[in-house]
Each structure stands twice: as structure tokens, then as C-alpha cells.
Symmetry: C2
DNA sequence: ACACTATAAGTTGTCAGACAATTAACTCAG
DNA sequence: CTGAGTTAATTGTCTGACAACTTATAGTGT
């Protein structure tokens, strides 16, 4: 029972944020601290935990704002589909930004994940997916250079590696995806325009072709609330 | 480029935490602030983001410690199995604490998820799963009272609702699970002995019987790093 | 010698006040 | 009407201090 002021403050703030309409500004820090009976330092400490959850956004000189969500993208995990396909299916419009294509050599981790040797030539594709203009996902795909080269993606690449390979005629079989949760690293935070440490849903997966070779090692970072991933689990072993 | 001191501080702290062995204490806040060239207030602000990710743990009067992970529990999402079954399969020992069994009436959300009417009698089972003595998951199962009554679970309940129903002879078919990430609420934070807002992996799922009736609405909260959930996704639609 | 208590030092939690950096609105000359 | 400068408001950071808590140490009584 030690954290009384802080915990009580979190509860009060949570209620205030819930009651405040999305996009609206909260009272200034000095005023809020006075209203809630705590110092501004403690208030800021608590407010950081809500910023981490993506519930509020602070802007120096402007204020602290409650963030609102757009409609969530819904998809089952049994079938692998691109975010573009998912959005089209739901009649939503998404866009791609910060597209970066970069060749690199396999380090120990990538070599193991892709079934190659250390130093093998790879191509790394990074991009930010936006819904309603706001960043909602950051995707990093890494492929062997014999699967995809820089000049291959110069044309007809619209943001989805999966769609590109399928339209090219590649035969792809399955993807093995791992799901986790984590705090944003510096790189991911910058891309998604959030703070380092903010909570994210994370997939890392291997895409296999007909010969069970790994053709793509993919890292996906999703801002919670914008996606509903579900899966049907069979009972019994 | 506004958050320079804070962002640089996060990078420095991240490196320090990575270099520090698990369980070891970090230098005191005044000393660290002096070493890193920031005020203690800013240092604390940054340190909270790492506490939120579960990377460090602060104890008043004692210090700030780097937390270490135990072996992760590995499981596929295609098959629904209890954490107990999962642990036994991997030769690990887990325990159950804070077991709470409580009857309640269905509110709007629960009624919809369970396919019942508002006010219907329910049974809510909450418990904390521990590995190596440390909390790693918080589970909340809610079942209709015609499926499970209080006195049913008085005996032979070892922590898993799924195992209990199966051993009793119930015919269960599938579970529809949704995966997400979120910050801990006050209730979950208390159960898992973490801070409100700390990042968690979250499943919420419906368990169906042979008649496609919902027999269990389940909420699961996992501390990241202790579990590896994976799923094989089929390409194409 | 042992168990228990009181003390002291060290650490995190909170507070108060101040200034810097940034933003947004306003004023006013052209 | 436009645009630059000014001003007020807000968050970011710093400094210093004290409170609350933990741990180790020294001391005391039996």
C-alpha cells in the first residue's frame, strides 16, 4: 500500500480521459495538479503512463490531448493477407509512407531466421501503414536477394511484399507467425510518431515457399486498437 | 527534434539496462542523473518508460533493479490448451495464486459475448499463474451458471477451467480468440504485481461447445517475454 | 553467545518553485 | 487584407528539499 498518491492519481486521470471527448484538450498541467491535489511532477509521471498506452498525446507549447481511434481493421490469423487486402475487403482506405528499400548482409539472427549463411545478401523493406492519415503499423520485411532485388521493387510495388510476390507469380505456401507485445524501440517509435516504450502488438513471422524455403522474414508492429486479429483454436491435443 | 534530452536519455538508459546483469541494482537516481548529465526528474520520467516495459523494477527505499526472464512457455494458437498442459509438456512447473470464484449477473458486454440475456447468472473465476514464483499471467473466465456453479469448483479445480470441463466430460469444440496488446488496468496490475499501464499481451476468447453455445468467455493477460505464441497462416484467400 | 531493538545511512516517492522551449493567438503597421 | 512581430499559455527540464521506506549496523538485554 505504498503508491497511494500515484495510484489514486492514475485512477482519477483514467476517469477524466474516459470522460473527455477524443481530440479535446485536457486542462493544463498546473491546473490539473491543483484540481487533483498533487504536484505537477507526480501528475506528469502519471500522465506519461497514459501517453505510453497511446491514450493521450502531449505537445509542448500546445497542451495534452485525448486521442481518438478510427475503425479497426479486422482479420483472421488462419489466412495470411496483406494489410492492403484487409483494408480493401473492409472498404477502408490506407496509405503507405516512409518506404525504404535497403540491401544489407545477413547477421547471425537474420541468417538463422532465413535459413542462410551469415553475410548472405539480403533486401530490407520498411514502411509505415497509415489509416485516416495516422500511422497504425510499421512493417519490416527482409528477403534473400535471390528472391527480391532492389530494381525489382522499383516498379509496381504498392507497399505489400506479399501482394508483390503473389502478383509476380511466386508460389507461396504458409507463414509461421509469432505474436507478442512490447514497448516501441527508438526506430519504431520514430516511424510511428509515438514515444519510445509505447505499447505495441508485435508479430514476427517467416514466409515459406513451395520448397519450404524461407523467402521473407517479417516484423510487424501494430498500434493497439486499430486492428482486431482473431483465430479459431481447436480443443484437445 | 524537440525531445532531445529525453530521447537521448532513453537510449543511454537502454544501453545501461542491457549491459546490467538481471537482478542487479542500478546506480541510485542522483548518481545516474549526474553521470548521464540530466536532472533527477527527467531521469525518473525516462525510467518509468522502462518500468512500463517490465525491464526494470523500482522499490522505494531499496533501489532500481534489472528484471530477468525465465524460460518462455511455447505454444501454437491452432490448438487450445491450458497453461498447465503447456507447462507440463515443456517440463516446467507453474503454480496458481489469488484464486477467486465469484457469482455475478451478466452486464451488457458479458451478455453479448456469452449469448445470454442481461442479468443472467454467471460465475467468474480469476487467478494468477506463476512461473518460478513470479506472476506471468492473469486469467479471468466467465461462465453461465448452468455450465459451472460455485460448489462445482470447490473440489478438483487446479487452476484451469478448460481442463476442469474436459475432465468432467464436457464436449468442447472450438475457441475464438482475439489477440491484442494493452496497458495494465488497476485490477490486472495489482494481480500481476506490476504497475498500471505496463505493457501486456492480451487474449479475449469465446469457448464453444458441440451445440455452438458459448460456455466460457475468457480474458487472458500475459507479461511479455514469458510466452511464445505462434500460428501457421495459410497464404491466399 | 544469542535474539531483539534502536539507530543511521541510503534510496525512491513527492513536493514546490523557477526558467527554457515551443506553440498559438493576437496586434498592428504596411 | 496580409504578414511580421509580440504576447500569453503550455509543456519540457532543472534545482533543491523533505517524506517514506528499506537495509545494514551497532547496541542492549537476557
Amino acid at each position: 500500500m505504498s503508491n497511494f498518491p500515484f495510484q489514486r492519481l492514475q485512477a482519477d486521470l483514467s476517469g477524466l480521459i474516459d470522460r473527455t471527448p477524443a481530440g479535446q484538450r485536457l486542462p493544463s498541467e498546473p491546473e490539473l495538479a491543483k484540481q487533483l491535489g498533487v504536484s505537477r511532477a507526480t501528475l506528469r509521471d502519471a500522465m506519461r503512463t497514459f501517453e505510453t498506452q497511446g491514450l493521450v498525446r502531449r505537445r509542448q507549447g500546445s497542451g495534452t490531448f485525448v486521442v481518438g481511434k478510427v475503425q479497426a481493421l479486422d482479420s483472421g490469423l488462419e489466412v495470411l493477407e496483406s494489410l492492403e487486402t484487409m483494408a480493401k475487403r473492409l472498404g477502408l482506405v490506407i496509405s503507405v509512407s516512409h518506404l525504404s528499400v535497403e540491401p544489407l548482409a545477413a547477421d547471425e539472427t537474420l541468417a538463422e531466421k532465413l535459413g542462410l549463411e551469415v553475410g548472405a545478401g539480403l533486401l530490407c523493406i520498411r514502411r509505415v501503414i497509415r489509416a485516416d492519415g495516422r500511422p497504425v503499423a510499421y512493417l519490416v520485411d527482409t528477403l534473400p536477394e535471390n528472391v527480391l532485388r532492389v530494381d525489382d521493387v522499383a516498379t509496381d510495388f504498392h507497399g505489400s511484399v506479399l501482394d508483390f510476390l503473389l502478383e509476380r507469380g511466386d508460389i507461396l505456401k504458409t507463414s509461421r507467425a509469432n505474436v507478442s507485445a512490447l514497448g516501441a524501440t527508438a526506430e519504431v517509435a520514430k516511424a510511428l510518431e509515438i514515444q519510445r516504450g509505447d505499447v505495441l502488438l508485435h508479430f514476427y513471422s517467416q514466409l515459406f515457399d513451395e520448397n519450404a524455403k524461407v523467402v521473407d522474414y517479417s516484423l510487424s508492429y501494430f498500434i493497439p486498437g486499430y486492428f482486431h486479429f482473431h483465430v479459431v483454436r481447436r480443443v484437445g491435443g
